[in-house]
């Protein structure tokens, strides 16, 4: 583009100012990307929840259990492809701050229902043969430097107390970005055998895999209807609705993040808008000359906007690259405490859109001013 040298020359006319403005964009975009990641992590359930899965919990609360005997009844409801069950184990590994979720799983159906979490077949077969075996997610394995074959002691305060030891037989990986790789699984049979009588035959929740997502509402109603008026009434929801409910426990994260985001937006807008205004005012005379020479009002507006957008683009890119580098590090540090953090392409695009929007807004007022500038007045104002 033949006007580029003019735009670029104007951009770089005050190096320090340019760097500071780029810095504002970089910092803001870094922050913006982080907010998006955190928000996404909390909403994750919704995002990675499979549309063809239902979660069945005790009507009273997730803490209350439901009988194992429901499994076959649920499986027989038309539209259900498979069903698996989990219990929350909630034990401590070495220290309380080493938190990660542990689930008692049903090896017979786990891999069919959670097909996105994959375990190599040889590892899985070892696990099936090993009564006290465990499978852990890749990120937890990495976090504690575990190797296959390690003994993992977990102390529980719930199920009669005491120390439970597991052999790490395998590692699972999520196949989609954002899949939770922090869990540890062990076998239902072993759990059932060791827990006190009052826990036997009771599962925490069922996860139902449907033949088709279109059936979700009908099947959910059918399940709850089946167990209505029993001592253990159920509440069945899609996985995403259930995840959304889970997030609400953390308070109004969404509102918090939107508030911080708006503050970032307006601060950046004021800073860059002011900078653009000053930088345009400084060259009133030059703009007047350009117009005298024959540059149209639209071109002058275009120059100012292009300048603002270029700053936004470059500063934004810098911020996003930094965020891309930082998110995995922070994600690791927070692993277990927060759902996994992922900076996805749509988030990057959204952040870039945000930067360009701020850029355009900050360039618009000074640009319109430059556009309305009358040559004769500008050259007289000496």
């Amino acid at each position: 583009m033949k006007f580029w040298s003019l735009i670029w020359a104007n951009l770089t006319r005050k190096k320090v100012r340019l760097l500071l403005t780029l810095g504002s964009f970089a910092v803001a975009l870094f922050l913006f990307a982080f907010l998006a990641v955190v928000r996404d992590a909390f909403n994750r359930g919704g995002g990675v929840a499979a549309a063809n899965r239902l979660v069945v919990i005790n009507r009273v609360s997730i803490i209350q259990t439901i009988p194992l005997s429901y499994r076959d009844k649920i499986r027989n409801i038309p539209g259900v492809e498979n069903v698996t069950h989990d219990n929350w184990f909630g034990a401590i590994y070495q220290d309380e701050k080493n938190f990660f979720p542990q689930f008692v799983i049903d090896p017979d159906s786990q891999r069919q229902v959670y097909s996105e979490l994959v375990v190599p077949d040889d590892q899985w077969n070892n696990f099936l043969k090993d009564r006290t075996g465990a499978i852990a997610g890749a990120s937890t394995v990495k976090r504690f430097g575990w190797k296959i074959g390690d003994r993992i002691p977990l102390k529980t305060t719930i199920y009669g107390g005491g120390a439970w030891e597991f052999n790490l037989d395998g590692v699972y990986h999520g196949t989609r970005p954002g899949d939770d790789e922090t869990q540890l699984w062990f076998q239902w049979d072993y759990f059932e055998e060791r827990v006190p009588d009052r826990f036997k035959g009771q599962v925490g929740w069922y996860t139902v895999k449907l033949n088709t997502p279109d059936d979700a509402v009908r099947v959910a109603k059918a399940i709850d209807a089946d167990f209505a008026n029993s001592p253990y009434e159920t509440k069945t929801d899609t996985e995403s609705a259930w995840a959304a409910g889970w997030v609400k426990q953390f308070g109004n994260i969404e509102f918090l993040i939107l508030s911080i985001g708006s503050v970032v937006f307006f601060t950046l807008l004021l800073v860059t808008g002011n900078t653009m205004a000053i930088s345009v005012r400084e060259r009133t005379g030059e703009l007047a000359i350009l117009k005298a020479i024959g540059f149209k009002n639209g071109s002058v507006l275009f120059f100012v906007l292009a300048e603002a957008l270029t700053i936004a683009l470059i500063g934004g890119l810098v911020g996003l690259v930094l965020a891309l580098l930082a998110v995995p590090l922070v994600g690791q540090a927070m692993s277990g405490m927060l759902p996994p953090m992922v900076l996805s392409k749509p988030m990057l695009a959204e952040a870039m859109g945000f930067a360009l929007l701020v850029g355009a807004c900050s360039g618009l007022l000074p640009g319109l001013g430059a556009m309305r500038l009358r040559v004769v007045d500008a050259l007289r104002r000496i």
Binding site: K2, L6, K296, L379
Partner: protein
């Protein structure tokens, strides 16, 4: 031929008839130009003189399509510019007018050659054609060796020469210079005027120039004075104008 009596031949390049410009300041009208007439032929070199505030810049702005008159008409090469929309007027300026102002001429962040290239960015010329035009314009003003210099690396006289190169690079119909030597010392002013004279004599340019300096005005073919909002001829001989100024 230059005439101020509305009697120039109909083939004059620039024809100004009954030009009025009234400013308003605080509700009070200030009549700056009143029924001004002017005919300028192709290849003429005219100097406008007059006391500060007499309306010289105002006149130049109207001739260059930077402002619109309160009444009257300006036509250049048959184009009546006073009724053009601002967009058309901008296009017209790009094609027909080369401006040289007293100050604020150059974009400080662009090199001499980039400054000269600016008007060509508005044309369809290719990059290499633009480069050629810029080089020959800089050669005319004697600054071939300074193409990559920034304005701050040039003397005041050299800056004005770059401005002149920019004014002529797109070969406009006429040049308007508002006190082009106003900020220069005698020697630089003389050099600039020698250059302008050469543009007129060798390159057959039409130049209309405002100046306070009688020695500068003396270089012109015709010196016109702005008095009470109209032009009066001061004398066609460079000697009489120079003598009048020195007296």
């Amino acid at each position: 031929m230059v005439s101020v009596n509305a009697d120039g031949n109909s083939k004059a390049l620039i024809q100004v008839r009954g030009l009025n410009k009234t400013y308003r300041r605080g509700g009070e009208p200030i009549q700056v130009l009143q029924g001004l007439n002017l005919d300028v032929d192709q290849g003429d070199f005219v100097a406008f003189m007059g006391p500060s505030g007499s309306g010289k810049t105002t006149l130049l702005n109207l001739l260059g399509g930077l402002d619109v008159p309160t009444a009257g008409s300006v036509s250049v090469g048959g184009d009546e510019i006073t009724h053009m929309s601002s967009g058309r007027l901008t296009e017209w300026r790009a094609r027909h007018v080369g401006f040289v102002f007293q100050i604020y001429n150059l974009v400080p962040v662009l090199t001499a050659s980039q400054n000269v290239e600016l008007p060509l960015l508005l044309t369809r010329l290719s990059r290499s054609e633009r480069k050629q035009h810029v080089e020959s314009a800089l050669a005319i003003v004697g600054l071939q060796g300074r193409a990559e210099h920034f304005p701050r690396q040039l003397s005041g006289g050299q800056e004005q020469r770059v401005a002149i190169a920019r004014a002529i690079v797109s070969d406009p119909t006429f040049l308007l210079c508002d006190e082009p030597t106003g900020d220069l010392d005698r020697k630089s002013a003389d050099e600039i005027m020698a250059l302008v004279e050469e543009l007129v004599s060798k390159h057959n340019k039409t130049v209309l120039m405002v100046t306070h300096d009688p020695l500068v005005a003396a270089r012109a073919h015709t010196v016109l004075h702005l008095e009470k909002g109209a032009l009066v001829e001061a004398g066609k001989s460079p000697h009489s104008a120079a003598a009048g100024g020195a007296a």
